[in-house]
Symmetry: C2
Subunit: 410 residues, 2 copies
């Protein structure tokens, strides 16, 4: 048996981040409504100004601002009401000296006008005149024709993961389709002599496959496309055939249980067969999740996740989710957390980073993080948990009453 | 024109939360792989014990714990190695006094044994004997047959929104299909004389529809199913026809621009026509998003969101996302946030809750939240933003250097 150096979480992530750019995807064309969460293959540069014409931002009267200087409640300045700009229509009237034109929020500014006086700051007079009761500065209550987006401006950079607002600006620029990288395709394979599918009645010594289904859902929760490749017993030929197929059809393959004693050697033997296979790490100083393995095979990546359901999920959260979701590992301060007070002390071994399952309960002084005890083979502990609290590498534990940051499960 | 009382955010949310349970959905059957994020219609009670048999949690030797009492490196206790339990197979051997049986992690405990001595705490002797070098307590390194889930136990409650681990425990219990409430269906309608679809070339005074596309993506990001119902000009008959169809086909209808001056009256006239229509609020003391309207029509809900793209998005985040995602409004401390330092002072009017767009940049003392100035009609400001900082109702602003909590966009 070969021995591998156990890496720290930081070292393991560094190795993954270095190799991740080698995992290649194809560009695809998507309708704007189906592009959420996908990444642009190219920069988007504005082909036009947005909104494309000067618009009123309030209901009121378009005026020449100089005509309003000195206006007040005590010194109303009368202007002749020349007409109205209709919504969605060109402003065909021009505002001359001493004139005003009615305009609604979003309406086109008429020629000659450089500001809008709010309706509330005017009073109507008989026979087509209005009184201005407050002055406006040039540009006041007006959106310039290029104020949202300027023609030629870089609006979205290549690699941008499209959020709802990004899709909004693409709509504003006239896109109905967009070129994005295809979603990550992830093949999932369970290994182990004792595993049977959920629909089977397990015999003595057998348990149903949990990891395939949690991993499938985890991949989907990252916006990836998941595919199950079943359960493989400890048989090198079968494992080779199934892993090869999963690698051919996906960008990433997740083996669960593949790093546990029984099948670990098989997985390593398989990886050793491939010339283009490089093992990035095998063993990380975290708990749970220590026996995690990662390898690059050509332009594909393989993760060997632990067989214990809790360990497999924690390992996914620490290594796989960040890559599928962002393509890199966020610093701890960039990750959204909930602050809570630890309900009881936690012990840890120095030299190992612990990830403790906690549930959140409302306490008198805010949220309490209540650790959930239980072995990493117990999926029910994850069902009770809301998130994870980490005990850093160099700490022997956390005291009761400590302020902790809880990373909520997706 | 009718006048409505402007509610605070808290009051408006209270009204929504009270009426939300009236919005009805049908149960559907989903494969376990397609059930992520959907809610169980019924409690799930365990029909069996999980794992269903006592299992070893380490590689080692199953023993009678009393046979190991007093064992140490200096006082090794020999046991006769009686055989091996194979993974995934029934343990057909029984451990008698003075005997041990080899077992792997996850393997079935043989009869008679009540603990497992780790491989590392034994040494093998010639001719079928091993030495025990450390004692084990009863139950040590063993998972009981009902330790994960006990038969008859309530595992998941009705209404539970399925997370990956919940799907995992369902797999463990033998489910391949599950009965859940159908996803929320949300119809989306843009209103306004000036709005044209993205594929059109806007004439003078016209702008492309942004809100339909941002709202579509926002609904999808909550796990809902979105459907576009196009753009409706200011025409009561057309609006009635389109809103009626959207209401018939969906649980929730989002009108954007429907609360702006031009179409607000039309929307209100339409709601007044329906006997079963109740306006929950029309106007909230927030900025942006003030002209938000909500109404219940029978067992459906209508939101009139502001026409400005930023306002429509903020309003969605504050009112619609929590209902679609959780069915209630989380307390501020339950919402995941990122802590940052405000880069410059922010002013606000007391009596109004402001939601300020910020982007996050790495500063020397942690993340900086940099406010993004700009009118609420500018979608580009949302493209630059990473999240929102709130200035509470009773505050006139926030000082530069304040610690703020940033709610990141999905």
């Amino acid at each position: 048996m070969e021995f591998f150096q156990v890496l720290t979480l930081t070292e393991a992530r560094k190795a993954l981040a270095e190799h991740w750019p080698r995992i290649k995807r194809e560009p695809i064309v998507r309708d704007l409504t189906e592009a959420l969460g996908l990444e642009l293959t190219q920069d988007v540069v504005a082909g036009e100004n947005i909104p494309g014409f000067a618009r009123a931002t309030v209901d009121g009267f378009a005026v020449r601002s100089r005509d309003t200087f000195g206006a007040s409640e005590g010194n109303p300045l009368p202007l002749r009401l020349k007409g109205e700009v209709l919504m969605g229509r060109p402003a065909e009237i021009t505002v001359g000296p001493g004139e005003a034109v009615a305009v609604s929020t979003g309406g086109m500014m008429p020629g000659g006008a450089d500001a809008v006086v709010m309706l509330e700051h005017t009073e109507s007079l008989p026979s087509g005149w209005i009184n201005i009761l407050r002055p406006v500065a040039p540009g006041e209550n007006v959106m310039r024709e290029d104020e949202d987006v300027k023609k030629g401006q870089l609006v979205l950079e290549a690699g941008r993961r499209l959020r709802p607002q990004d899709i909004g600006v693409l709509a504003a620029l006239g896109y109905r389709k967009v070129v994005v990288w295809e979603p990550w395709r992830v093949g999932i394979l369970a290994t182990g002599e004792e595993i049977v599918p959920p629909e089977a009645k397990p015999g003595p010594g057998q348990v149903r496959d949990i990891n395939s289904y949690t991993l499938y859902a985890l991949v989907r929760s990252c916006g990836g496309e998941a595919k199950l490749y079943g359960i493989v017993p400890d048989d090198l030929d079968l494992l080779r055939e199934r892993v090869s197929r999963a690698l051919a059809e996906n960008h990433v393959v997740l083996l669960s249980g593949g790093s546990s004693v029984g099948t670990r050697d098989l997985t390593l033997r398989l990886l050793a067969e491939w010339d283009e296979g490089v093992i990035l790490f095998h063993g990380v100083s975290i708990r749970p999740g220590k026996p995690t393995l990662a390898a690059v095979v050509g332009d594909k990546m393989i993760f060997g996740l632990p067989g214990h359901p809790v360990s497999a999920m924690v390992s996914f959260e620490l290594f796989v989710r960040p890559l599928l979701s962002y393509g890199y590992f966020k610093s701890p301060e960039e990750e959204p957390v909930v602050e809570a007070i630890l309900s009881r002390p936690l012990l840890s071994d120095a030299g190992r980073e612990d990830f403790v399952r906690v549930r959140l309960v409302a306490g008198e002084e805010g949220l309490l993080a209540v650790p959930i005890p239980g072995k990493s083979g117990l999926i029910s502990t994850m069902v009770k948990a809301d998130g994870l609290v980490s005990i850093p590498l160099n700490k022997a534990g956390l005291e009761a009453g400590s302020r902790v940051k809880v990373r909520l499960f997706a």
